[in-house]
């Protein structure tokens, strides 16, 4: 839902970042307001995941230029855990496995960290079980996954569902979902999209990183952006995604080349 009066949640200006001195982001600009759903598309290797990790504070990426404001405050000096506690969420493209760490315990510690920041009461093991069971329904996940180690031995699709479960527990203000649709079967895609739609409201925002229109059929974006070589090179509404679906990225390249010539 677009409303230009809605508060700006995240404002990215000329963001440049590198890994091992190799530049990957080359001046990203993006503004996301409360209530909006943005889709970020672009070729493999164009820098989408990198942008998401820089926003979440991954230590391997160094910001060399530009700024990111989160609700008007500088986001970049914050540790990744602080960013999470104030409501930034990254659903990973490749969630890692953490052997031996109980998923349930992990989810509880994580949820409580966020709740404490929000001034809410910590949930003890019993209260949390109730809460998590309710949220499991949102992604129709089997409670058996709570008793396993974090992501260990989860199938690709199960890992993605576990990510959305975490989003449902943490109730972030800005959720970045990196290819949450990849690896999901047709039913799971519908269920997970349903979950994301239910969590979206006028106060929060979602940035969907995806390659496929089929996700955007289920979660309707207000804006669609195309990334190339570490920059957002084109923005539009959902028609842009449909155009990409039909014509591929070459068309964007050609337009860009033409632009650079003039």
């Amino acid at each position: 839902m677009i409303s230009l009066d809605a508060p700006v949640l995240i404002e990215i200006r000329d963001l440049c970042a590198c890994v091992d001195d190799q530049p990957i982001l080359n001046g990203v600009n993006l503004t996301i307001r409360a209530g909006e759903i943005h889709a970020l598309m672009g070729r493999n290797g164009s820098g989408k995941s990198t942008l998401s990790k820089v926003l979440a504070g991954h230590p391997a990426y160094k910001v060399t230029e530009g700024s990111v404001l989160y609700r008007g405050e500088d986001l970049l000096p914050l540790e990744p855990d602080e960013r999470s506690r104030i409501g930034l969420f990254l659903g990973f493209q490749y969630p890692v496995e953490i052997p031996g760490v109980s998923n349930l315990e992990f989810l509880r510690v994580s949820t409580n960290a966020r709740r404490l920041e929000q001034g809410l009461e910590e949930l003890d093991t019993f209260a949390f079980e109730d809460f998590v069971r309710e949220r499991l329904g949102l992604v129709q996940m089997d409670p058996a996954f709570l008793d396993r180690s974090v992501n260990e031995g989860f199938s690709g699709g199960e890992k993605k569902r576990n990510e959305i479960l975490q989003m449902a527990l943490l109730e972030p203000l800005v959720a970045i979902l990196d290819e949450t649709d990849s690896g999901l079967d047709i039913d799971a895609l519908r269920i997970v999209s349903g979950g994301v739609n239910q969590l979206a409201n006028v106060d929060n925002a979602t940035l969907l990183i995806t390659h496929y229109q089929r996700l955007l059929d289920l979660i309707k974006p207000d804006y669609v952006h195309v990334m190339a070589a570490g920059r957002i090179v084109r923005s539009g509404d959902k028609a842009l995604a449909l155009e990409l679906e039909q014509r591929g990225y070459e068309w964007v390249d050609r337009e860009l080349d033409a632009l650079e010539m003039t």
């Binding site: 230590p59 855990d81 999470s84 031996g100 760490v101 992990f106 960290a113 966020r114 920041e117 974090v150």
Partner: protein, 480 residues
């Protein structure tokens, strides 16, 4: 700041049991000769057989050389510079806790081991050893109702000389190795447990060893005997003050399990480990061995090792009875300049004997952490089975981890399976937890604790959480 350098700072946590108790102590002069051995025996009013045992051991020890095969680096120990007997002065021999010096009770309170009637743990009997002597054993009467004997080895020698005589030195002979011989000559105190036929010990038993004096060696001796069909779970804990000299701790533990008996022996070891430059700390040179002499008997070792400047320790099982079972679950955490060479020996003698080894080594700082294990299948160990899993986790890039699995088999039907892995805490795992609001320190200890889960799950309930906390503590520190 990279996360690896972060981690380095994290594992440095001040040792919180480093205080010294001010108490009047009776010490014999430094040094070791046959007269000192006689003096110790005399102080304890020992029967002749025990004095003979000590003298034999001492004479044998003189002929031995300190082992160097583990490649541990430490200067030669001056055995004449050690006090072999130190005991807090007490007016009379204590008959009940009320008569124990309150300073000592306070010390154990401070260590989290309350002994007094009101505060003690409800389902754990404790034998508290201070320097060379046991100062109190709780729940003695309640245990006696079940026929269970739990007391200091000194008391056992006086009250149950026949039992001690029958079993002492049968699992770890006094000439077994350098440190075992030394211990046999000069051991001062330790715990004795006897579970009679058919009895399931009604509570956890626990010994707590506290070294207080800086110049003493602690040579404790523990003997646990479970008769036919008996079972017991025993836990050992230990701490010491911070001294800049090294203190020698050379214990011997012997376990005997008869037919269908089971003994679970858990250790949470938190000796003072020395400072970050490797100055001070305990040398922990320990011989622990269990003898599954009965059929279908079972001995299970679980250990969480976090202290000691040097650990040299191989809790082992001799699986003699048919269908007997040996287990070894170990977590060893080293940091700074600590050295640990630890593992187990599973000696399969009887048919269909089974053993499981799960070892988790975590090395940080400049420490060295080795697993050394032997699996031996004797000619009669038909269809015997062993499974070993040895995993190492490296924190930072200055620490070392090694695995030395030795296998000897004279039995073609035996099956031996060995898995080993080495990993680092990955930046991505840390980032994943952090991006879920979990701060850096908590994330590290969560990952480490997950790594150790297979071992923690083997600890008695009451202590699993304790071990988890201890590890977290050792990993905690200031985030720079």
């Amino acid at each position: 700041m990279t996360s690896q350098s972060h981690v380095g700072q994290l594992v440095s946590q001040p040792y919180k049991y480093g205080f010294v108790t001010e108490i009047e102590t009776e010490k014999i002069p430094k040094g070791l000769d046959e007269d000192v051995v006689r003096l110790i025996s005399e102080k304890k009013n020992e029967p002749q057989f025990l004095l003979d045992f000590r003298i034999r051991a001492y004479r044998h020890w003189l002929k031995l050389q300190a082992p160097d095969w583990a490649g541990l680096g430490y200067p030669p120990i001056d055995y004449q510079d050690i006090v072999y007997y130190a005991a807090p002065k007490q007016k009379e021999k204590k008959n009940s806790l009320d008569e124990v010096d309150p300073t000592l009770l306070e010390t154990f309170d401070k260590l989290g081991i309350p002994l007094s009637e009101q505060k003690r743990l409800s389902n754990v009997a404790v034998d508290a050893v201070f320097d060379s002597v046991s100062i109190a054993t709780t729940y003695k009467e309640k245990l006696a109702e079940h026929g269970v004997v739990f007391c200091s080895i000194t008391d056992a020698v006086n009250e149950y000389p026949e039992l001690v005589r029958r079993y002492l030195g049968t699992v770890v002979p006094s000439n077994d190795n350098y440190f075992a011989a030394l211990n046999s000559a000069v051991f001062s105190d330790g715990s004795f447990v006897f579970i009679p036929r058919g009895v399931e010990c009604p509570m956890e038993l626990s010994s707590y060893f506290r070294i207080n004096s800086g110049d003493i060696g602690q040579f404790e001796r523990t003997l646990i005997v479970a008769e036919e069909g008996a079972s017991v779970s025993y836990l050992e804990g230990c701490t010491a003050p911070m001294f800049d000299t090294n203190t020698l701790h050379a214990a011997v533990v012997e376990l005997v399990a008869l037919d269908d008996a089971s003994i679970k022996y858990s250790t949470v070891q938190n000796w003072y480990a020395g400072d970050e430059n490797g100055v001070g700390g305990i040398y922990n040179f320990v011989t622990k061995r269990g003898h599954c002499c009965g059929e279908r008997s079972k001995i299970s070792w679980s250990q969480v090792e976090t202290g000691s400047a040097i650990t040299w320790k191989y809790p082992s099982c001799i699986l003699q009875g048919a269908d007997s079972v040996g287990e070894f679950y170990s977590v060893a955490l080293t940091n700074h300049r600590q050295q640990a060479d630890t593992g187990t020996k599973m000696i399969h003698l009887g048919p269909r004997t089974r053993s499981t080894i799960v070892s988790k080594g975590i090395s940080a700082g400049h420490s060295a952490n080795s697993y050394r294990g032997l699996v031996q299948m004797g000619p009669k160990a038909v269809n015997a089975k062993n499974y070993s899993q040895c995993d190492s986790m490296l924190i930072g890039d200055q620490a070392g981890a090694n695995t030395y699995p030795y296998i000897r088999s004279q039995q073609p039907d035996a099956s031996i399976e060995h898995e080993a892995s080495t990993c680092r805490i990955s930046e991505d795992q840390l980032f994943y937890l952090q991006s879920r609001g979990i701060d850096f320190e908590a994330a590290i200890s969560m990952i480490v604790s997950g790594f150790c889960r297979d071992v923690f799950s083997q600890l008695p309930m009451e202590f699993a959480a304790e071990a988890d906390k201890l590890l977290a503590l050792k990993l905690e520190g200031s985030v720079g």
